[in-house]
Amino acid sequence: MRNYKAAGAILAVSALTALAAGCGSSNTPSSSGSVPAQLTVWRMGNSTPAQVTWMNGVVTQFHKAYPAYAKTKVHVVFVPWGNRTTDWTTAFSSGKNGPDITELGNTDTPTQASLGMLANISSDVHQWGPGSNIVKGMLANDTLGSSVYAVPWFGGVRGIWYRKDQFAKAGITAPPASWAQLVADAKLLMKKNPGTYGLGAPSDYTNGIVSFIWGAGGQVAVDQGGKWVAELNSPQSEAGIKFYADLYLTEHVSPKTYIGQTELGAPGATSGGSNEDFGLGKLDMYIDGPWAKAEFPKNSVDTANFASFPIPGESSGQSPAFAGGSDLAVWKLTKYPAASWDLVKTMDSVSNSTSFANSQGFFPPFANQLTGGAYSSNPLLAGFAKAATVTQISPLNAKNWAIADTTDAVIPTMMKALMQGANFTQTVNKANAELQTILNTGKK
């Protein structure tokens, strides 16, 4: 009798402790590992005062939540995006001077995990309270086989930026719900605002183009039993590709200058491109995510009327948007996996990830945050939040996707050729064959 009561009491206390742990009060470390003198965190990009403040706040929480680590210093290192591959490779290969925790662009995670650089944190994630709340598609991106190698930290999707007053003046009462309406609205806006273009369609914009492929019901590539089969030349995919190319070729709602450019313009250029044109009022509708806000020129016009809506489906609904963002992972070679995971949990707590994401124009990775209405009252973010409910990642998280997209630029090259007048079927078939070979073998 007494044993049962004691057992029950113990269980109750444990449950309470676990609950308390989820709420962030005093904790013991995840497992009895040694206490590190210092933990090194690799962040991507470069330091800004806002980020330093945020991180200092997180470290204070970390020390309070895990008294055992009260003396542990947290050393934050910023790695410019262009240097990250070299830095990861050399740290991994030399076995020295790696991080304990690293941020990764979510498209980097599958590759880095497959190269063995990230620690397997499957059991940690399954035991983590908020873990079950993570948007399924985002967590799937960080999973290889059945093992989890990273946790999503923040995410973002693309939608279409527009100006409310322009829509009102043109008599457009609701965002377009189909591609045909989208083009019609673009042309109408061009008529009402002479000298502008309706909808920007840069050719070097894989992450935007895929929405149209998916929106038409096609796929870029599918994993059939371990082997990738590219499907750019399926009728549905081709419909999406053709629609995007035609925005310039036949509908003339996108200017010629965007051929060969990304959404920010020619790589390395100081001006031009759809982002700047939208800000300056020369483009009426612009495909990008909420993070684009940081890129608009300082002399942008009419910014109070910025708003967004999801990319419509071909005939109804929404086109799936590619979910970009960053993940956090524990470095495989770290000496303190337990402490590192504890710090990750702190950085990625619901409140911390939300505050961080909001400051950057992204969304936290937790489903209930997205659907909970926190964003629906914000006219600018409401559209993006809605877009974030219909997302897809695959095959952009494939092991060899970086080779297909960044190294060999299959889709940008294809779209550029199409917009320059190349034969449609030939070009798409060629790109399709190339994509399949690269996804399967890593080489052309």
């Binding site: 200058t257 060969g260 450019q261 020619a266 790589p267 390395g268 190294t407 080489k443």
Partner: protein, 340 residues
Amino acid sequence: MTKLSTQDRPGQLGRSWGGPPADPGGLPAGARIGTFVRRHRLAPYLLLVPAVVGVGWLIVWPTIQVGVFSFQNYGIEQLAGVAPTQWVGLANFSTILRDPEFWVSLRNSVVFAAVVVPLTLVTGTGVGLLLNRLGRRMSVFVSATTLLAWATPTVAATVIFYWIFNPDGGVVDWALTRLPGWLGGGAATWAGFNWTSSVVPVYTVATLLLVWQGFPFVAVSVLAGLKTVPAELYEAARVDGAGPWRVFRKITYPLLKPIFLVLLLLSVIWDFGVFPQLFILTGSGANLDEYNLGIYVYQQAFSTPPSYGLGGALALVLTVILLIITVGYVRASIRQGALQ
């Protein structure tokens, strides 16, 4: 009419420095010199040791290692020691030769070098000739400014040229749109003209950039060479009534030939596989039709996941191509005694 040529003054020009001088005949001095050389037979080797060690350890040995990689499947796992290296024979080489992008890059590299090298040499020679004629102060001023171009770091220079040719807000497009139509200008063609989205425009910009960066070196070398030409040669030629072109052909050019050949060789090597400038101008690898071999090597070897075996094979292929191109010159130099 005496014909003047370099052959008339063998002692001063084109002297070969091989071997000890002929014994002048005076016994004590000759014997002394002979003993000096004989006693110090090891001297050249001793003097060479530090340089040979440096080059051998840090350049030659890594080259051999890279050669070995090219026959293996060397990647990150092998680099980190978590997976063993495996021999793949000629697989890397055949991957390269079967890749159409390799041939595109090769074509671009060859055509580009064929344009840039002569342009750089001609421009540099022209400026060198000019500098030779200028008064002292002016010559120093102009040579200093040209060397400023050479000293500007590559990335900064490339970005500047990128901006100058920017479709939005770049000086060149702005100026070309304001040119009258009969000069080939006008807004229709040139407004927002994108110089980096296709091969010929981007290589035009790259040509201007590399010539701008490369001609100062040529100019100063040529100037130096010209300054060693004795004034009497020119005067005698003029007394004989030779025109400027003949003077150039018969006197200047033969004297400068050794320099030209060195500069030609170095320029070909540098411009053939030039990397940072082209990489930045072509959008950091975004435009495959614009690749040259420098970019191609970088992309194959350093993208994610990197394949060092493939990169090594590429490096070897590149070196062999350059060797083939330059072997003719090297043989000629040896025959001409430049390497003696």
